[in-house]
Amino acid sequence: MLEDYFILEIHTTEVSSTPTTHLCLGPTLGLDSSSQYLQLSKAIMGQELCSKALQPGCSCYRSEGRDARSCRRSQTVAMDSALELTDLREASSSMTSLHPKGSHASQARKFKSKRPRSNSDSFQEKDLEQSFPWRKSLPFGAASSYLNLEKLGEGTYATVYKGISRINGQLVALKVISMNTEEGVPFTAIREASLLKGLKHANIVLLHDIIHTKETLTFVFEYMHTDLAQYMSEHPGGLHPHNVRLFMFQLLRGLAYIHHQHILHRDLKPQNLLISYLGELKLADFGLARAKSIPSQTYSSEVVTLWYRPPDALLGATEYSSDLDIWGAGCIFIEMLQGQPLFPGVSDIIEQLEKIWSVLGVPTEDTWPGVSKLPNYNPEWFLLSKPESLQVVWNRLGKIPGAEDLASQMLRGFPRDRVSAQEALAHDYFSTLPAELRQLPDVESLFTVPGVRLKPEICNLLASYQRNHHTSQFSKCW
């Protein structure tokens, strides 16, 4: 499928006549896809870079495990076979300024990058962005307007590549949708695109463009450097309380915006919260989002992790509204502070519920009208534990003023008791943030306000002390 994408990309390149790059792909068709996109990106990025890159072992876009081997293999094959770059006058002349930094960057990454998406990449990419001469005339919606750089990850219905826009030089994330031959376009892709089309907010991921080709469908998103799950794994043991406050404010700001429009995200988890190198947090992955409340079949499928599911949904309630997302946001809040998921390791609904009851106490008809009528309610829970104070369970909540109160308002069993995102933004917990943040227009990021910035994470300070040579670069973010 990916192969089709590349062939198509070349085809459209030829037709659009701007970059006159003819690439003989015939002999390489037997290769795996990563080698092909390697060749293609080389072909488009210029001859000189390409000839450098083709030296064995010299450059490889990904360096881990199997991919590295396959790339190296492809390089030798590609050298032997016909990788013909004809009529490169325009392409290479427009790319010359790229070569020194570009090839250096890709070499440097070979030694450094541990993960496909690492924060340290961003600065080299900045160089790349600045030195690339962009074509203003390239159209949106055409595959030839974007270059694939590297694979970032594979989801259930899509593969995400890092790419670069040839229209304005921005880094982008290219989500290539796999077409199901039975069902057509996946329903998650349809919902995500149609909802994101109408959402313009600094804390919602931006959908730049949609590319329709005959065989594939590609969504072009703004590129974000990492996600919250990865950020937390890079900074184990809990995040800096100041940063948690900034992340939480942005999460609630994004939620308030979509809830105002009667859209539920329904799949909040750290993996779906993208983070830029500045610290901007954006909601992403609207594949399960809905424009209103609906029956539960799509929600209770296995793809949604149990850990962030509220007790009402676990009990089998089918009518839920914005309070559904608030529970997930509350879980993420405590997880950021503590550095660990709240209710990890559970495998089924009942176990998850019992974990929740062990903290909140078992709900009764007094605390939660109608709870005993829900399908998964079990009267024997009555014998279980009494509610505990949240800071007894999660000690860091007690150390930050207002944190426990906000968390307890978000983690209420009875859905109607949960605080709304709009109310939560006005909570005392956020009173230390500048007042301007509440008057920001929708599309303005928090970090446009002077003085708002992330603080370095504790473990990052230690790490940067140990590997001294790149510290000056990192001081900009964390």
Binding site: E183, G184, I190, L195, I210, H212, L217, H262, Q297, Q422
Partner: protein, 335 residues
């Protein structure tokens, strides 16, 4: 949008000869666009006017928007988790835009469109889909017809592709392409359906969000505290309007308000109506109500029977039969 009582009276009197573009240029075999059909409507409408037209009615701009009692209305709709956002939701749902008023493509007449939509109504009922899905499917069909040409023999394929996409947006269980092809009596293949789906998404550029008129009707009826029977009748009138090509040019909120107002006036003798909302003036609803009433009077006309038959079932209280009876009592039977 304020209309003085005198002006309203004038409008009301002038609306019998009001041209109904869809009905007249479609060459409908049912020549119902004559004043004879519209005039009788005045009776219930006029009867509703004196009691329910307070002075404030004409000052819509001065009314609180959203109207009072919205949170309670949302509670009755099972949306009580949304109190905080009730106002925004109401505005965003009711402010849904109409499609631009353009003619159908040359190859497609209003009659042909009605035939396909009528078939979609049957498929929709057979598959037991949600009400919103039908309105979204028809909305997608009308949107596509405004941006791209379609050959007449592909109109049914386009219609079913619209329903297929609407299911993916709205439904939690989606019909198999093969079963849709079966319902199409083999006039298109699953592969053709999937190609049509891609073309539809590409032409519409994924702009599929449409808070259809059914959601508006639910909100308006909850606000007006209408009886279930009135809501059912209004739902019937609303669904009849999907057959009309011109309905795409009505904002979903106005369309729902017209259906509700018509249902209220038809069932006026049963009494017990809640407060008049007055969100739309008579002049705004004027062109829509007679169109729905004509469709209800038409009954099971060939090629346009699906909605009538659907609402003639006992589980829907045979409301379409009741509607035809009550409407024809106030006007002579169709020739």
């Amino acid at each position: 949008m304020s209309v003085s009582p005198a002006a309203r009276e004038e409008l009301r009197l002038s609306f019998p000869p009001h041209p109904i573009p869809g009905a007249s240029d479609s060459g409908a075999s049912l020549s119902l666009q004559s004043p004879v059909k519209s005039a009788p409507l005045e009776k219930p409408v006029a009867a509703a006017t004196p009691g329910t037209a307070p002075a404030g009615r004409s000052q819509r701009a001065a009314q609180p928007w959203p109207p009072p009692g919205l949170a309670e209305a949302l509670t009755t709709l099972g949306l009580d988790g949304e109190r905080e956002y009730a106002g925004d939701i109401f505005v965003s749902v009711m402010a849904g835009q109409a499609l631009p008023k353009t003619d159908l493509p040359r190859a497609v007449t209003a009659e042909m469109r009605a035939l396909v939509v009528d078939w979609l109504v049957q498929v929709h009922e057979y598959l037991g889909l949600a009400g919103d899905t039908l309105y979204l499917a028809v909305h997608l069909l009308d949107s596509y017809l405004r941006v791209a040409p379609v050959r007449l023999r592909h109109l049914q394929l386009l219609g079913v592709a619209c329903l297929f996409v609407a299911c993916k947006v709205e439904e939690s269980t989606r019909p198999e392409p093969a079963s849709l092809c079966l319902l199409g009596a083999g006039s298109f293949s699953p592969a053709q359906l999937l190609r049509a789906e891609r073309r539809l998404l590409s032409r519409l550029n994924f702009q599929l969000y449409y808070p259809g008129p059914l959601l508006c009707l639910g909100l308006l009826a909850a606000l007006a505290r209408s009886r279930p029977r009135v809501v059912l009748l209004a739902t019937y009138f609303l669904e009849l309007s999907v057959l009309e090509a011109e309905a795409a040019g009505w904002e979903p909120g106005r369309r729902a308000a017209a259906a509700l107002a018509l249902a209220q006036s038809v069932l006026l003798h049963e009494g017990g109506e809640g407060p008049e909302l007055g969100l739309y003036s008579k002049a705004e609803l004027g062109p829509i109500e007679p169109c729905m009433a004509r469709a209800a009077l038409r009954g099971p006309a060939p090629g346009r029977a699906a909605v009538f038959l659907k609402y003639a079932r006992p589980q829907r209280q045979c409301i379409s039969l009741t509607a035809a009876r009550l409407l024809s009592r106030t006007c002579p039977a169709p020739p």
